[in-house]
């Protein structure tokens, strides 16, 4: 039940809330926060962007799913993908691969990118028995954290896109290493290798 007194108080609370809203709307369009400076002034909090508490986990950044975010299950790299590998994923992988990897690894993955000529130590070709045998999770880990002279790309490529790149590398590996007998008959004929 609302006593007269409590309803007065209710009115006050509503008024107070309303005036806060009014004040908020005084934030002028000229002063919208923008990416001008690393720290943008915010009248409510002092700074809008602040260093995260090292223990805080931003929403969407839980890392419980180790396959998705680390490429591991029970601490071991696995040869598995956290999503279905289809044409769409591989196509996205190609876009990403050609944006980030070709300068060193080359378009077909032989480690013959343009930066070799500029003096970057060439990486290994993907088309070796050793690398074909590496599990998908290993590739995911190298992209995320780097290896040797290669710095990591984890900060710039989202996990799902990293997996797309792994799928595309697998496609490259298949494209360069096929057993003729295992191809469908029409492709065997097309290859022009049958009668040699």
């Amino acid at each position: 039940m609302l006593t007269p007194k409590s309803s007065n108080r209710l009115v006050l609370v509503v008024l107070a809330a309303f005036s806060v809203l009014l004040l908020a709307s005084c934030m002028n369009m000229e002063e919208q926060p923008k990416l001008d400076e690393p720290y943008v002034f915010d009248p409510n909090f002092g700074t809008a962007w602040r260093e995260l508490d090292p223990n805080a986990i931003p929403r969407g950044w839980e890392r419980d799913d180790t396959l998705m975010f680390l490429g591991t299950v029970d601490g071991e790299f696995v040869n598995d993908f956290p999503m279905d590998v289809d044409r769409e994923l591989i196509a996205e992988g190609q876009v990403q691969y050609e944006s980030f990897c070709t300068p060193c690894h080359g378009f077909a993955g032989y480690g013959d990118g343009i930066l070799n000529e500029e003096g970057f130590p060439p990486p290994a070709s993907y088309h070796t028995d050793e690398l074909r045998a590496q599990p998908a999770g290993y590739y995911f880990d190298v992209i995320s954290n780097g290896r040797g002279n290669m710095l990591g790309y984890g900060a710039r490529i989202e996990p799902a896109d990293r997996w797309a790149i792994v799928a595309y590398i697998r496609a490259l590996q298949y494209s360069q290493y096929q057993v003729l007998d295992e191809l469908p008959p029409d492709l065997q004929a097309e290859s022009g290798l049958l009668n040699q």
Binding site: L35, Q96, E98, S99
Partner: protein, 218 residues
């Protein structure tokens, strides 16, 4: 003694009128000048930077994708400027003794970001979003010009409201197929009128309402 002769009345009237006229002219000049491409001081003038980073070298000669450094342009509002980690992914091994790169190495070691000077800077009452444009057929070149040929970046277009609206009123004249977004030196086909209509459908762009004030001022 009479200080002001009768003729002064006319002089006074004229000077009031002239004053008003001059004021109007000055305001008009300022107004027109503000919109003139020539006085948009930013347009066409290369901006000095703390490190002489050349897009011509990195994008054209080395053929490094814009995505390598501005990946968020594809999806997000800001294209973003790369951090020094990005530079060091190559310069940890390349041109390691170059003096030009000294600030990059220092920044990488200390963690203090390089402070690049902004080339483009829309008024703050304007909302802009890269992702929407990149995913709807507007190439980087359409708005930024031949960045791949610039040793230091300058603003290629005036970026006035009229300039934005020229396209928002008729996007079909400007949009490209999705695989040409990163092409520089793109020549629109002769049948752009046909292709444009086709692309509008493909991207599901509805030009109706793209000129509404709230699209850009929100």
């Amino acid at each position: 003694m009479q200080i002001f002769r009768p003729g002064v009345n006319t002089v006074a009237k004229i000077s009031i009128l002239a004053g008003a006229l001059v004021t109007v002219l000055v305001l008009n000049f300022l107004f027109v000048q503000d919109r003139s491409p020539y006085s948009r001081a930013r347009a066409g003038i290369a901006v000095a930077q703390p490190v002489r980073f050349s897009h011509q070298l990195h994008s054209d000669q080395l053929n490094i994708s814009c995505n390598y450094c501005h990946a968020s342009a594809n999806e997000y509002a800001y294209a973003g400027i790369p951090d020094t980690h990005t530079c060091m992914s190559c310069h940890s091994q390349i041109a390691v003794y170059s003096e030009l790169l000294e600030p990059v190495r220092t920044s990488y070691e200390t963690g203090d970001p390089l402070v690049w000077n902004k080339v483009h800077d829309l008024a703050e009452h304007v909302y802009f979003n890269h992702g929407v444009h990149v995913q709807n057929g507007v190439g980087c070149e359409t708005c930024h010009g031949r960045v791949d040929q610039m040793a230091l970046v300058w603003q290629a277009e005036t970026m006035t409201m009229a300039w934005c609206l020229e396209c928002h009123f008729a996007p079909e004249d400007f949009i490209r197929p999705a695989d040409e977004i990163f092409t520089f030196g793109y020549e629109p086909p002769i049948d752009q009128a046909v292709l444009g209509e086709q692309l509008l459908e493909e991207y599901e762009i509805n030009p109706e309402g793209l000129g509404d004030c709230w699209v850009c001022h929100r």
